[in-house]
Subunit: 243 residues, 2 copies
Amino acid sequence: MSIDKSSFIPPYYQLAQILERQIRSGEYRPGDALPSEAELSEKYGLSRMTVRRSLSQLARAGLIRTEKGKGTFVSRPQLDRAVFVMDEFHKEMAARGLTSSVRLLEARLVPAPEKAARKLQLPVGTKVLYIRRSLLADGEPMAYDRKYLRYDRGRPILENELQYQALPDMVEKHAEVLPASSKMILQVTLLNDEEARALHVAPGSPAFLLEQILLASDGRPVGWGWCLYRGDRYQLTSVPGTI
Amino acid sequence: MSIDKSSFIPPYYQLAQILERQIRSGEYRPGDALPSEAELSEKYGLSRMTVRRSLSQLARAGLIRTEKGKGTFVSRPQLDRAVFVMDEFHKEMAARGLTSSVRLLEARLVPAPEKAARKLQLPVGTKVLYIRRSLLADGEPMAYDRKYLRYDRGRPILENELQYQALPDMVEKHAEVLPASSKMILQVTLLNDEEARALHVAPGSPAFLLEQILLASDGRPVGWGWCLYRGDRYQLTSVPGTI
DNA sequence: TAGTGGTCTAGACCACCGG
DNA sequence: CGGTGGTCTAGACCACTAT
């Protein structure tokens, strides 16, 4: 194989494909050294910078690793490692071919209960925005979401906004501090009566519990809550090693 | 801020840090355009290639996005998106400061039951290697693993090997076809009596169910099984947007 | 047409590694 | 010491975008 410089596919990508094929076909096996950058450069008629770009791409994909002063080596595939991605609800449902919608169940100012106050680092009883929503896929509940958000802007709560906007947008509208990052924790749980009713399943059914903490750029929490995903409808699939 | 060329930190990384700080501090806000590559190059006394390297790093981290012919723009933080990583059991427990060990409960050749045969694309009744293991953290069960592996090499089953080796290694030893990739599916479930006993919890407890399929480079399955993680001890934490 | 990012080159110097 | 990957430069040409 060689590089077709008249192709629309850029040379760095062509070389990456060639090397990937050679690795996947077993021509180079785990532990083997690839030709040096100088050799690849000479063999394929590309500058070393271009060769390096191909190699970085393969390295990011986990197919090879480089060792300073030694060379470039084929990695062992990491078969016991999995990466799962939970995207924004609407996007995720769209990707599965489902029509998603949101049903706002409750949205009001409440005095922060003990746990929410602790999570938001506010005094107990501070007015916070409490939101309960059902997330539907093809009209049937998929998830049940409860959130506490800082509320220090005095802006009115418009129900039709809450119904359509993503959580970060709501925070922006009602808090002085903007969310800059989030931390999520995924657990399993059994649904209590109220949760089960909201999700149209039997009490005691298993579910994913996704806890979410929204943080401002200074690290202060601006939102906290948890979202329950029905165990009978929702699952996560590992993302294939992408190139 | 400017670049310290005598520093051990390479210029491309220094520039990336400067820009990241400016973005996180709000100096550039979501949607804003960054200075053009030519301007950055001139301002910081770096070649355009080096500036581009800094920008690619920020783009990979999701902080900025580039648009051909238009410019480079600050992205909105993706706060409703989470990435979870499940690593190899021993590594994961080590990362949590727990001592992990494996207890081999069963390892023998069995005629493939219907489901395993279908998953491995073998005729029902074909001899396959069946393995049951307890994965312990600090001596207490954390996960319960059951796997069916192709067995067409006639190599004897050595118990002490199975106890310590990762699954891909076992497959290599007992099957002609090497595993090249894996697909995992994460679900929630309730434990039945046998599973609960193995995990030292009450029957009906919730758990993560991780299904794993090992594939050869030609796409043929070479291993299949599922691993149950105790819901009361195991949780996944989102990986922070890394740079 | 002028400005933008995307790609590529042919050099250069460096730190690291092995014999 | 020679070979390796890591970094950087000063150019170049291209396709795309806006005016």
